[in-house]
Assembly symmetry: C3
């Protein structure tokens, strides 16, 4: 499918979706091979017999492509192994898996609100390997691990592992860090880095953002928030507002919403940062209705969700004039609230500048801080699933 | 009281002591309001129905001004809620509260010396949100939390939350981090930042220093150390030496000592960094006897406590000559020790350069490392009180 | 012994091996003294009655020189105190102690592979005081502590303790941090810093590398890896390849191998970075056979261990031509593997650049990632021994 491969090539900057030639990886006693495959409902490039006691080094076997499709429905019952061994990109998740993960996230809300906390992950060690700092994301993951009784090894200067001076490869770093921990949460500045790490690691890898590439846990928490706030995902109307050209979150959200029925998406953005054709083509190919609009008020009055994003100045280089014009154009304020339906909500991936005025915070429909909190539940759920299974 | 409001305006750089207009803060189900008030025995700007199970988001109600004064004596018994919901400034603590906190700190000494440690705060998560690094203070708080069985989320690069590039407000950052933790220990470069955080947060905030503003836990550990070393606070003679103009600690200490009876304070400092009038006026208004002296030996021979401080070079800008003159003027060395009474002690907030010579360390009256250790007990006590109550 | 004192003077840059004049150290109630002594099978400069409940401040008494030699064999039984109070340098360890530590490390492998983990060090707090970042080493120590149920206080910006601006001494910093923790793992940029810290601290210090000085845990894990991979240490043939002039690890390894019988060492390095005479003289004085060779293939065919190291560019300053010539000269690749014996292994301290080609990773004889993992077990063992004893 041209449209979707276009979409894919956006996702991976064409880097790693092409079928990989078999890699060979070997240890004192055994030699075996891995390979992976490309698909929209992708599974990670390598399957690992994860040792549930601890994420020890273990055999890797050839991937069954589209395994997620095959007999997955029956496999969400407690005690079963999680279908995924790594969380690398939004494309890994089909509708059924999302639904099952959201049920676990809901359990996590109960656990987190329980004063005694949980010791579910006691004895497990998570390494946060951040090649660029992202305090918000790091704290969210570390809180998730600790709320479940797990421990954390943390670094925000992982570049020193592989500094130009020393020049260690990401693969070598992963082979070292996997010896110290049971799961690795990695943030990297290069698109595709998480996939490379997963191809090397014998323990689960969670992608906490790799450059312009993917930030799958953000995508999941956005969809989870819509379900929690609106009560459904089929038949919803969503307005995506602001930077639709470069905003990683709105692009992933549009992609995931295509998995649900009768979804209508409105794009509201300044001309210079309008949604790109790859996503539009993808939505069309999936039969998702979408339209572009310049009238935020009219869109807001129709939508269940107004998803606002920050216009990123860094995208405009010297053209500060264009930036200033773009950022001022669509502000969510009391006026917008006044036309929104009672049950509708305003979402934002945060941090926000003035694209949502502070007085909006006071309205019950301002969901963005609850959305941030949902990131904790989604991450708790993924840590539980990757380390313990269903 | 002119004098004291002068003092206050020093404390907050006039920023936040004036009564605040009511703020509105709202969540999906409820809308309610907060306001705060100014007073010398201040309580935090907002009251929170802290959820002792976990510092969850909860209703805020209108503050009773001077609540600390009202029927507080009866309320120190075990199981009662702590009177304070945040630790923002030295002014929050009246004499009775200080005494009660010191008793808890003494229990903490016993707990910390007990090899098995304590699990008192098991399941609680403290976030150290440091906008400027202060390794000493951070490690002291993190040790305190862990000695009580609690867990820690740590960041020393919190500026990245709200970097100029992204421009998130402190308030937005707090609303996010409070979702990940049960209590926030915050260090900030701006005076008044801790108060702003407390006005936003639904969980307890401890001020670990906000710029030239307050560092209340340092003030408490200083008073606690005097009581532990001298055995009393009424009727003591204290010599404050060194940088009295800019030294945050000596200013807070002078303020707190005014709460006790028959205290005599001596100011010994180079002319360029002498104690400012706001404190002198405040002491006078509280009936505290004080005098300035240029004779360290004579003062040392009379005092129970010689509190030495570092002359901060950064205060002198280009005038290195003035700095060199100032820093050499009053050194605590063996000569000073030789005139001090047997029961007297030398204190210093640390780090020290050469304002106390190294040979003084060998004398039992050198209390400054014990003073640093007392910071651990005071912080353990405050964490226990804010999260569990008396 | 000239040769060995030459060796010593290399080890300590002549800084601290000469007998120290008695130091005086004093606290409120007591005054007592410490001194230390120099010897090849050195013990730390100070003995401390470590409080096993918690590493509290305790009396220091005069050191018995060569105590390790005296009746040590009988003292490895469970429950006995560890002979060492600090881990500062490779010279502290004699053959018997190494053997006993390796047995504990082997137990640690079992503990780490056990899913439930261990709570052996529950209630203990380790401070990682890093004056220069070394993420790999820090994570290894922190993982070791957490795998045993202990807690960690971490800092990678310890320079801020003693920044030029503030100018605190290392000794003052140690006196503060020892109040917050039970054991300190220190990385420093100055040779001899760990020894200074140990002379001050009342709790155990582990040297995680002090500048060009020592990195004893690396030395131990190298020897441990040889025993684990080859099954013996007596009668082995070891080829040391690459940067032998500046490589801290190969120098320590050569020193430790001299403790075993019938060891043969081959030095294979570019002329500009050949092994220095101090080590050669030392080996000769200990009756260890060694020779230099320019033929890696021939050496590789004879050796049980080929220990490759990275040529450090920073050593060559402007002479990039010399660097380029040196780094390319001896590469371990498939050709070298093809002449190596089946039971032999390739080791490397990591990080590696291209001095070992990536295809070598696939061979079972590539031991360097297992070697890195062994660092975890050695550090677990040392933490257990220093805090709990045998």
């Amino acid at each position: 499918m041209a449209s979707s491969s276009t979409f894919s090539s956006w996702t991976f900057n064409g880097s790693t979706l092409a079928p990989k030639s078999a890699k060979h990886c070997c240890f004192k006693q055994t030699i075996y091979s891995i390979s992976s495959c490309a698909s929209h409902d992708m599974i990670p490039p390598n399957e690992k017999g994860v040792d549930w006691g601890r994420g020890r080094l273990s055999l890797k076997s050839r991937v069954q492509c589209r395994a997620l499709e095959v007999g997955i429905k029956s496999s969400y019952s407690v005690g079963n192994k999680f279908q995924l061994e790594d969380v690398i990109e939004a494309q890994q998740f089909d509708r059924d898996t999302l639904g099952a993960i959201f049920e676990v996230a809901l359990e996590m809300e109960k656990i987190e609100k329980n004063s005694t906390g949980s010791q579910m992950l006691k004895g497990y060690l998570m390494a946060t390997l951040f090649y660029e700092p992202s305090t918000r994301t790091r704290l969210s993951f570390e809180s998730a691990m600790k709320r479940l009784g797990g421990e954390v090894l943390t670094t925000e200067n992982a570049r020193e592992f592989s500094s130009a001076a020393k020049g260690e490869t990401l693969e070598d770093t992963i082979r070292t860090v996997e010896g110290y921990s049971d799961i690795i949460v990695m943030r990297h500045f290069e698109s595709g880095a998480a996939r490379r790490a997963a191809a090397t690691a014998s323990i689960p890898i969670i992608n906490a953002g790799d450059g312009p590439g993917q930030h799958p846990t953000q995508a999941l928490l956005d969809v989870y928030t819509i379900e929690r706030e609106i009560g459904k995902l089929d038949g919803i109307k969503v307005g995506l507002v602001g930077d639709l050209a470069y905003g990683r979150t709105v692009r992933s959200l549009a992609y995931l919403l295509a998995k649900y029925e009768d979804v209508k998406i409105y794009f509201v953005s300044p001309e210079v940062v309008k949604m790109k054709d790859d996503i539009k083509d993808y939505l069309t190919s999936k039969g998702v209705e979408w339209e572009e609009s310049a009238d935020l008020m009219e869109v807001a009055s129709k939508c269940d969700v107004v998803y606002q994003t920050r216009i990123q100045r860094e995208r405009f280089g010297e053209r500060i004039d264009l930036y200033e014009e773009a950022r001022g154009k669509y502000i969510v304020d009391h006026g917008v609230l006044s036309v929104m339906q009672k049950h509708a909500v305003v979402m934002h991936p945060l941090p926000r500048l003035d694209e949502i005025t502070v007085d909006v915070d006071l309205d019950p429909r301002a969901a963005y801080f609850r959305q941030a909190k949902n990131g904790l539940y989604i991450r708790m759920a993924l840590l539980k699933l990757l380390l313990l299974g269903w």
